[in-house]
């Protein structure tokens, strides 16, 4: 077997080894809310909304912490894909939208206490609309 065929076979085996999945079809949804990292959203260690949290949310997103959309009810929708972009770790495109208020269309997969969102389209991006810095400063360190 040639070197290239060996490499291709190894890559295929690598995918198969990791892919005994329970792939499912989700349901179509439109979700509106603020983009934020899941760590700050659920840790309760800092104020994780709006302008006060923007810088921290950028850091967390680039650190690879999963990014979610928090809707008006407080539910979190964890983003695994945006369009054709399947990089959900430290993706600068996602980090740039930290604390933006967005509406997205996509597919929702609910599994074991998590709402996973496969975004097809960002229907609206209002930028940051929640002004929290006057009250909370810059979280979590004040600068």
């Amino acid at each position: 077997m040639s070197h290239w065929r060996s490499l291709a076979a190894a890559a295929l085996l690598s995918i198969l080894a990791a892919s005994s999945s329970v792939a499912q079809d989700g349901r179509r949804v439109s979700v509106t809310g603020e983009i934020s990292d899941t760590w700050c959203s659920i840790s309760g260690l800092m104020f994780a909304k709006g302008t006060a949290h923007h810088q921290c949310a950028v850091w967390c997103a680039l650190g690879g912490i999963p990014v979610s959309i928090r809707d008006a009810t407080g539910d979190l929708y964890l983003i695994l894909r945006i369009g054709d972009d399947e990089d959900s770790v430290a993706n600068p495109r996602i980090a740039r939208m930290a604390t933006h208020e967005v509406t997205v269309d996509g597919e929702l997969l609910e599994r074991d206490g998590v709402k996973y969102l496969l975004v097809d389209k960002i229907a609206d991006d209002k930028g940051i609309i929640t002004m929290t810095h006057d009250e909370y400063g810059i979280q979590p360190f004040g600068n």
Binding site: I15, P66, R81, S88, V89
Partner: protein, 169 residues
Amino acid sequence: MGFGIGTLAVLVPVAAPAAEPWGIPHEKPLVLKGRLVDALCHLKGRCAPDCGAGKRQLGLVLADGTFRLIAKGNVDFAAAIPDLIGFCGKAIEADGLLIENPAITLFFVQGVRTEGNAEPFVPAERFKAEWEARNGKAEEWWRADPQANRIIAEDGPLGIKGLVPKPKP
């Protein structure tokens, strides 16, 4: 506080059989045993070589089929992808905190080892070592990160061009 656990990137195993509580609402220290997979592959069948080679979120499939996404490691502001990616498709044990928040259920890992291994857990702190290998030493990786600094320089720390924080009294 649980926020600032791992500022030193130490990759030697330590005897830490139980995760340290971080004071997070709904946290439960425990060891998860399962097979490490790429979340998008497992949930949707969209697979990539080597579990996405560090570019995709990862989780554990437990023996009963439960899937637990691993959202954070021991380094401030960072996930545990560098600690986990080498185990793609393999059975591991992960020592950490299960957070069963009504809004979302996630696992924050503090140490990992191959399943059945009697060795101590290896602290989930590789992020900092790998970041420093790329960018040089820094007390706080997040303030020295070139990509983060580019984004914050463009839009400001509050995320809106021209909007500046009030001067401290």
